[in-house]
């Protein structure tokens, strides 16, 4: 990477790292894992910088794919390190349970959390989410449905807010 490219890369990181880290954090549920994920994806981008027309799209894709790879690896039985004790104190369908959205998100399966992040934070269409996660559109829909149902059970405050609806009318 030459000096000009490095300058561009640094500017990109300065401007876009907060947004990228947001997605990484929500994908992983852990700050350290999110920073790892983002740093590695940025490193990959840095080595291809001169060839990238849309660096942010590349970094996001790299994060999504790397995260999917991590799930697969984890499913092979490797230990997962964690920096947070799960906040879930009872069964997720406990009607009395009141959890923060953060804790509720952590309680979701990896794929469920990813689908929600891609759909509702990154505003990607279902087809693109399916492509990125390597699942069918039908699976995206069913996963979204189950994830939202679980979130609502854990986080009733997430249900439609009539006050907001009224204010917007």
């Amino acid at each position: 990477m030459d000096a000009t490219a490095e300058r561009e890369f640094r500017e990109f990181v300065a401007v876009r790292s907060a947004a990228l880290l947001r997605t990484a954090y929500l994908l992983t549920g852990q700050r350290e894992a999110a920073e790892d994920l983002l740093q590695t994806s940025l490193a990959k981008a840095a080595n291809r910088w001169s060839r990238l027309d849309q660096p942010e799209a590349y970094v996001r894709k790299a994060m999504y794919h790397q995260q999917v790879s991590r799930w697969r690896l984890r499913s092979w039985g490797r230990e997962q390190s964690t920096d947070a004790v799960p906040d879930i104190a009872g069964p997720p369908d406990d009607p009395e349970l009141r959890l923060s959205l953060a804790a509720a998100l952590r309680s979701l399966a990896d794929r469920q959390r990813a689908v929600l992040v891609l759909r509702y934070l990154d505003d990607l269409p279902e087809g693109e989410v399916a492509e990125l996660l390597g699942i069918s559109v039908g699976t995206v829909r069913s996963t979204t449905h189950k994830a939202l149902a679980k979130l609502r059970a854990l986080c009733p405050d997430l249900a439609p807010n009539p006050n907001i609806a009224e204010a917007q009318q």
Binding site: D2, S17, A43, N47, H65, S69, R70, Y120
Partner: protein, 372 residues
């Protein structure tokens, strides 16, 4: 789901994910990028007498790698002689561990403070470059070069001061026979050059000047080529110059613009991201990916021998793969790889290679020289 809930979820997610990135993120990413790049440079010289693996970051598991060497030839067992562990967390820095053959344990390398000092700070473990024969490592910090030989962490070590020193932190690279180190001397506004360090005799060759004076946008990389008899100079303006070891220009070739080409051991071909370029005929051979639905750029990793090269590739199935390709771009072998690797199959000169892995958060078990 109502539009209102969608908005609320978006807002909640947005707020929830709002955390401050580490200040050193760009530096850390560039450092990691450089680490990845260095592996590719090292492999240029990878024709070794002893089977060896240098695991990048954390090998995932012996089970995973037991799918075998990626060479098209018979499988052999390979010993991991060193690996690089990336701790979790912000601005992480890798830590090298090397195999002590006496105990079979992985231990931190013993490196003098003079060569661990980078930008005024004392680095716990500087970047190591393992020789192709797996018996030596080298590290340099711009002012000093250090090698240790006669088995990793053995007693035979050499520390030499570079004078004049490097003006940029450029990677050193081993010759294919593991006897010499190429030390680039270069920097903005300084004349390009290199020195050869003989690790066996601990002698430092004279500074060889190259004609090019790199500009801010035309920095160059150097690499061994032509079976260790010449030095290739890669320029940002899509040009490769080949010099004798005394700095005499032998040939100059324009090549497709790629950020990190890797030259074959015999100096005839360049492995590019998406194929091969023949420096002699100037013909390109695009690689034939296993799936047309490419999602991430393939990255050149290195050469197994003069007839096979390796790229890292990530497919629609999200698994990273190491692809072994023939010169014509035909896929010889593909190995799925959960995390991907930034480098570097190594070879014993007979096409035997190992997979070098990038992983997270777990360390190699410290037991009797893990075998892949």
């Amino acid at each position: 789901m109502s539009g209102d809930t969608e908005r609320r979820l978006h807002d909640e997610l947005y707020a929830l994910g709002t955390i401050e990135p580490s200040r050193g993120l760009a530096d850390a990413a560039l450092r990691e990028a450089k680490q990845r790049r260095r592996r590719g440079i090292t492999v240029i010289a990878a024709v070794a007498a002893v089977v060896v693996a240098v695991a990048i970051a954390v090998p995932l598991s012996v089970r995973h790698v037991s799918s075998g060497p990626i060479n098209p030839g018979p499988e052999q067992r390979n010993v991991v002689v060193a690996y690089e562990s990336w701790p979790r967390g912000a601005a992480r820095q890798p830590t090298w561990m090397v195999l002590d053959p006496k105990t079979g344990k992985y231990v931190e390398p013993k490196i003098p403070a003079a060569v661990r000092r980078v930008s005024g700070a004392l680095s716990k473990t500087p970047d190591l470059v393992i020789s192709p024969d797996g018996r030596q490592y080298a590290t340099a910090n711009g002012k000093y070069v250090f090698t240790r030989s006669d088995a990793i962490n053995g007693s035979a070590a050499g520390l030499r001061k570079l004078d004049p020193g490097q003006t940029r932190d450029e990677p050193v690279s081993w010759s294919a026979d593991s006897s010499r180190l190429l030390i680039p001397i270069q920097g903005i506004g300084h004349q390009q050059g290199f020195r050869i360090y003989d690790a066996r005799t601990k002698t430092l060759g004279k500074l060889v000047h190259l004609p090019a004076k790199p500009t801010d946008t035309d920095l160059v990389d150097l690499a061994w080529t032509d079976n260790d008899t010449r030095i290739a100079q890669f320029r940002a303006n899509s040009k490769v110059d080949i010099f004798d070891l005394d700095g005499t220009l032998q040939r100059s070739v324009s090549v497709p613009k790629e950020s990190e080409p890797i030259i074959s051991p015999n100096g005839r071909y360049l492995s590019l991201g998406k194929g091969l370029f023949d420096l002699q005929t100037r013909r390109s051979y695009p690689l034939q990916l296993p799936s047309a639905q490419e999602v991430v750029y393939p990255t050149p990793i290195g050469w197994l021998d003069d007839d096979h090269y390796v790229v890292e590739w990530q497919g629609k199935d999200h698994d990273f793969r190491l692809l072994v390709l023939s010169k014509s771009g035909k896929l010889i072998k593909s190995i799925n790889h959960p995390y991907g690797t930034s480098s570097l199959p190594n070879t014993n000169g007979k096409g035997t290679t190992v997979t070098l892995l990038l992983g997270y958060g777990a360390d190699y078990p410290a037991n009797s020289g893990a075998r892949l």
